[in-house]
Every structure is written in structure tokens, then in C-alpha cells.
Symmetry: C2
Subunit: 278 residues, 2 copies
Amino acid sequence: MNRQELIKQIKTKKSFLCVGLDPDLDKMPESLHGDIFEFNKQIIDSTARYCVAYKPNLAFYEAHGLKGYEAYEKTVEYIKDNYPEIFIIADAKRGDIGNTSRMYAKSFFEIQDVDAVTVAPYMGKDSVAPFLEFDGHWVVVLALTSNPGSHDFQTKTIQDSPTDAKCQLFEKVLSTVSSWGTDENIMFVVGATQGSLFADVRKVVPTNFLLVPGVGAQGGSLEEVAKYGLIPDCGLLVNSSRGIIHASKNDDFAKVAQEKAKELQEQMCEILRQANII
Amino acid sequence: MNRQELIKQIKTKKSFLCVGLDPDLDKMPESLHGDIFEFNKQIIDSTARYCVAYKPNLAFYEAHGLKGYEAYEKTVEYIKDNYPEIFIIADAKRGDIGNTSRMYAKSFFEIQDVDAVTVAPYMGKDSVAPFLEFDGHWVVVLALTSNPGSHDFQTKTIQDSPTDAKCQLFEKVLSTVSSWGTDENIMFVVGATQGSLFADVRKVVPTNFLLVPGVGAQGGSLEEVAKYGLIPDCGLLVNSSRGIIHASKNDDFAKVAQEKAKELQEQMCEILRQANII
């Protein structure tokens, strides 16, 4: 899916919500007997009208071996067959040397045919570039994540020579990685929990889409994200996982998920209106 | 497997060779009809006496979807059943926020029960710590990788305050990550292609095991790695993948792999003798 199509969907649905499909067996109703695909199917059917993207986190599937992997594949197929307008992000956080990243890119973009994959930047250009060779597909690079450990390395000060301007590692990642592609094929992960650092991100990448986790369970605020991150064509995908899919552990989980998604969509609609995007 | 057992195996086999199980369908003999597990089985049976570790890179399995994942699981099972003394490293380069890394750790260490997993450091402590909670299991953290892109970020100069000593990002990763665990549960990836930077690594982590890719196809030299990296109880696992498993594309691939592994083992035996480790 290209940028234009993504923006069109955002304007049609009046939403920039991404629902994180991170199913936790311990938080699923007992009546489903641990059937991950059935859980996802019900979540998808009840939330698809309120969101523009789904983001399955591979860890939650791989943790269950073959059975989990199969549930992941069926979930991707189900979304593509029934909601082809929705953007699919495989949250895999991959990143390897060139020839290996090429295999991952082929697997995600040719075989599974998802729209985007999350990638870690630590190994540099040859680990990211293979993902940029597929038209209409995106790489979503970790820049400033939402977790406490984000301050261990990402916010350290970089200065390569005494004449260079100082910057933080995440700013170096943003400026370097954005030069490898365009705002039509590179997005960045920026956590909703980072407060005013969010404004620093927009200074370096004024036009790239940002994928924003950390609203809800992790404590980030949608208003603050919009204040610092919104650009004239939106440029934001805000993700909520647990706060939607596991809002209820009972048989009404899909209905409650729908209410939670609708709530966020309504807040997003208001934000888009105030910014004259819709 | 704990450090003592690993070192015992190194001394018994007179080898610190890790064979990378990265099967590429295009480089396998046609007679195998793309049967990855059968290919691995023959490679393992012919190289097990010359190596102390196997390192399947998950990308080469995940690229083939469910079928590939199944071949990976069967390969791990086969090694554990037939060569229980051999150290298994799942080369997965994972790394996610705390609750997600916990799922990965459980999957690799409880369900698959491999000895070690490679992890990317960019997301910080909560992305690595969950892997350190399993006795006799190891996390192998990317520090200075073997690929060209390693210089995009890993060798950038960090200086957090004017009074702090300057260091490179990979040195910051080594010093910070090594403080989260011990040399009994943390190893680091350091590429064989990094020449004299290797000496800088040993200044920061004098006792941790290093997993060293890049010898062979990528151009690194075993002698140089040993010169800078060897410590009194060895402290090195040197990996070769393509240079062994795809040395021949014909039906003699297992025999040729054996010769290549034996060659490296003999060089390693000589290095261990000269250093009075055996």
C-alpha cells in the first residue's frame, strides 16, 4: 500500500489507529481454548471499521512454535481476504547482515505480502536496504522506543568529531536512515511515552510517518502525541494492543475491544478535525 | 550448558568452531529437492566431531514459512537427541520491550531449549534482561558486527557529558550490557572483519565469550581473531556458515563440509596448543 492509499483510508475512517494483535493466552476467555486465530478473527471483525492498520507482534505467535506460526499466517490471510484496505505491519524487529535481511524482506513482502515490517537499526545500512527494494512496501525502523530501556543507548549523546553538532543516538538514526529511502517507504517507531523528545523527532523527520506504540497500557497520551507528531497529511499511526484486545477477559472480549477501538477512533476524529485534515 | 561444560568440550574436541546452519536452497544439491532438514542432518553428522556449536540463523528457515519453521525445529531436536554435548545458538537477533522479550526467552529457552539466543541491544536493558533469568542459558548480544553497515552506528563516538570519557557505541554496549549479567550468561557478537577494533573489545570485556562471525566468505582471518580475542580459557566461538555448508553444491556437499570443518578445527587445535590452553 502506498502513502496516498494509506492517507485516503485515514481520511475515510477518520482514524489513525493501529490495533496491535498481540494475543496473550492468559488473557483470552477460556471458551476459546487457546485458539489464537479465532481470537484474532473476532477482534478483527469487531475493530476493522475503526482502525487503519493491524500490527501482529511475531513474538506472541513464535512463542507457541509451529501452531503459533500457523495462527499468524492465517491471521494475515484473513485480513487480506476480508479487509484488503487495511495496512498490515509485521512487528518482527528484524535486522541482519545484507544477504540475510534480503531473505527476511522476501519472506515478508513476497511470500506473506504484508505492507510493512519493523526493523532494528543497529546493524546499519545493509541490514535495512533490502527491505526498500519492494514497491508499495515499507520498513518501519526503531528510533525512540516506548520502553524504559530506550534510555540505555537511544538517548546517548553522539559527537563524531569536535566540529560536528552533538545529537542523540535516535536523532542520528533518524537522519541517517531517512537518507536511505523516502517518506514513501520508511516510517519510524517513536514511543508515546517519550513526551517532549517527540518534538525533537519531528525536527529531523518532518514528513515521515511515525508508528507510535505506548498509548494506553504503557501510559502515553494521545493528545501529546498528536501535539508533537501530527503533520498536514496526518503522518501518524498510533498503536494500542493490550488496551483494546485484552480489555475484557470474558466472552464479551470482542464487543469490549470494539468499544475501546471506537473510543480511540472518536478522539482521533476530533484531532483530525481540529487540524483541518478532515 | 554452563561455561565449564562449554570449555570442557572445546578442550576435548580441540576446537572452538561454530558451524552456521544457514541453508540456502539455491546452493543445495538438486537431489535433495529442497529438503532443508535432510541437508542439515547430513551436514551435522559429518561435522559434529569438529565443532562445539551449531548456529541456525532463523531467517533462513522463516523465509520458507511454516515448512521452514518445521525444518528448524526438527534440526534443533536432531542435534539435542544425537549430539547433546553441542552448544546450540538460535541466531534470531531478537529484542523487544520487556513483556515481549519475556515471551521470546520462554520460547527459546523453555520450549525449544536451545543454549543461547542472539539479541540486538538497541532497545536497552528490559529487552535483554528476560533472557538472563534462565540458568545454563546465554544471551549473545550484538556489539560490533561483521557487515559494512556496522560503521553506520556501532563505531560512532559517544560522549554523554564533557567530563565523561569518549567511547564508541559498541564499547558503550559492551560495558553497559556486561554489567547486566555475568560472563557465565552473556556473550557478545564481534565480527572477524573488524581487525584492530577487536583489541578494543577485549579491553572492555576481558572475560566474556565472543561469538565471531565473518571468517571465510566475509573475509575475516582466524589468526587475527585469535591474536586479539583469545583468553586463558579460550573465550571464543568462531563461526563459519557458507564456507562450510555450501562449499560444494553437489552430492558430495557433506563430505566437502567435513573437510572444510576439519581444516578449521586443525588450525584451531594449533592455536589452542600455542596458547597452552590444551
